[in-house]
Subunit: 266 residues, 2 copies
Amino acid sequence: MGQVVAVVNQKGGVGKTTVTLGLASAAMARGHKTLVIDLDPQGASTWVLGGQADRLSTSVADVLATGKGSVAKAAVVPSEWSHLVDILPSVPRLQELEVLRAGLEGLVLGTKTETRLRKAIQSLAPHYGTILIDCPPSLGSLTTNGLAAASQALVVVEPTALSLRGIDPVSQLIESVWERHNQYLDLAGVIVNRMPPRSHDAAVHFDELAARVGRRAIWSPEVPSRVVLAEAAAARRAIHQMGARGSDVAGIFDKLYSKLWKLIKP
Amino acid sequence: MGQVVAVVNQKGGVGKTTVTLGLASAAMARGHKTLVIDLDPQGASTWVLGGQADRLSTSVADVLATGKGSVAKAAVVPSEWSHLVDILPSVPRLQELEVLRAGLEGLVLGTKTETRLRKAIQSLAPHYGTILIDCPPSLGSLTTNGLAAASQALVVVEPTALSLRGIDPVSQLIESVWERHNQYLDLAGVIVNRMPPRSHDAAVHFDELAARVGRRAIWSPEVPSRVVLAEAAAARRAIHQMGARGSDVAGIFDKLYSKLWKLIKP
Ligand SMILES: Nc1ncnc2c1ncn2[C@@H]1O[C@H](COP(=O)(O)OP(=O)(O)OP(=O)(O)O)[C@@H](O)[C@H]1O
Ligand SMILES: Nc1ncnc2c1ncn2[C@@H]1O[C@H](COP(=O)(O)OP(=O)(O)OP(=O)(O)O)[C@@H](O)[C@H]1O
Ligand SMILES: [Mg+2]
Ligand SMILES: [Mg+2]
């Protein structure tokens, strides 16, 4: 399932959802059929894409509880953006499946719980050019399922000290999933989000980030801090649907998506 | 324990840690003895305040596991900032205590687990003018312990749609804790953080926020987006220790702290 991409960082608010949606918007603009899987119980991408948590009959929670392809098929719904973008939506009770990766997880879900998402999406994966998984701010069983299902991991960071602290634990989880479940998994790269206009601090953190992951792992261009991205979410629209105000940021996501597409295209 | 303040929002990255530390910095500048309790397994405030997770013999995880005052007393350490600011530090294994508030929690921790922090800090509380609790981006048993121990809850928000979605679940948890555990708990107010320089979107969300929580619940001044706040964290310093560059933001936290102090002073 080479087209499955997990968007991760256990640090809150770095822009996992914003980057997932920006890439989905760019995919849509290129005419690629895309699935967004929302693995965050807080359901932000579900909300922006127009999934309605309370009215949903089946969700990703049911998929993780059963591991069944038929459940995944029933849970996927079209987004409000376009026929090109579907969602596998989140609901609040997904939080119940975010238990420890060891110990309790076995009690609640039984064994082999970390590969349930992967099993469940195998039959629907061929219908999509791109599958993006929006992960929650944690490194528990939800993000682990996302990484076990993916062939590429994208780590989103902000150029600040508090955000960069998250990099090592994420890399360790990626290695651990690679060893235990999924030797197709690659760390595709690091996307820098919420880059401030100009700042000594951002430059310092960029260098520190480059020192930690290697300059080549950091994708260019960075995504700047732009209020239009928050406005697009508020309007529940794709950044490519925000007209002239959104066009420079949409262009940035086009470049990032082109880079991603080279890695995941068949 | 009228001086205990929980800083909450399950949405990631809104600035819970930044606001907790800004208020602690203002308390220090006023000469108030302050304790910061780090309830986030990712330990950002522990890190900034100079707690070293791997070398710590006892932490807030032990406090929550035992509910004992003697353990809390042993776990509290002075910060690197000043003799006026102490920390009850976090460690990564605190994540194991972040289980469901019902069901599994009983299995792992036994009953009455939500008031363990409160019990454990009762004897050390009188030593501090102010006690600030930095909560994680979730509404599980860690944040619940924080709210059950507090007399004031401060909700930190960003003026964006994705951040404001978090307000209703937080208010519901505060009400639930009030009913079940702690009738001293008040929603002190909402602190708006990462206010962009000027933006139609921020103005719209400000009005929406005011409509939801009431204009009087929103504290003034807002905390602007200022790179010096991220720099202070990177330098592991208080905002009041950042010299002239940090003085306008330090002044903002002085005003917010004055407002808080009126509510919590004996
Ligand atoms: N480049 C940007 N410019 C301006 N605002 C942004 C940018 N990226 C994200 N935001 C805003 O910052 C907030 C946090 O972003 P987002 O929710 O995408 O992060 P996240 O990593 O998914 O958070 P969580 O950990 O809670 O899932 C949102 O309100 C979003 O609209
Ligand atoms: N007003 C501000 N101006 C500039 N940067 C800020 C501001 N507030 C927070 N930040 C930066 O934004 C990032 C997120 O802030 P912070 O970690 O305080 O949020 P949080 O709510 O505690 O996140 P989490 O949910 O992960 O605990 C950090 O890198 C921080 O340094
Ligand atoms: Mg998100
Ligand atoms: Mg924090």
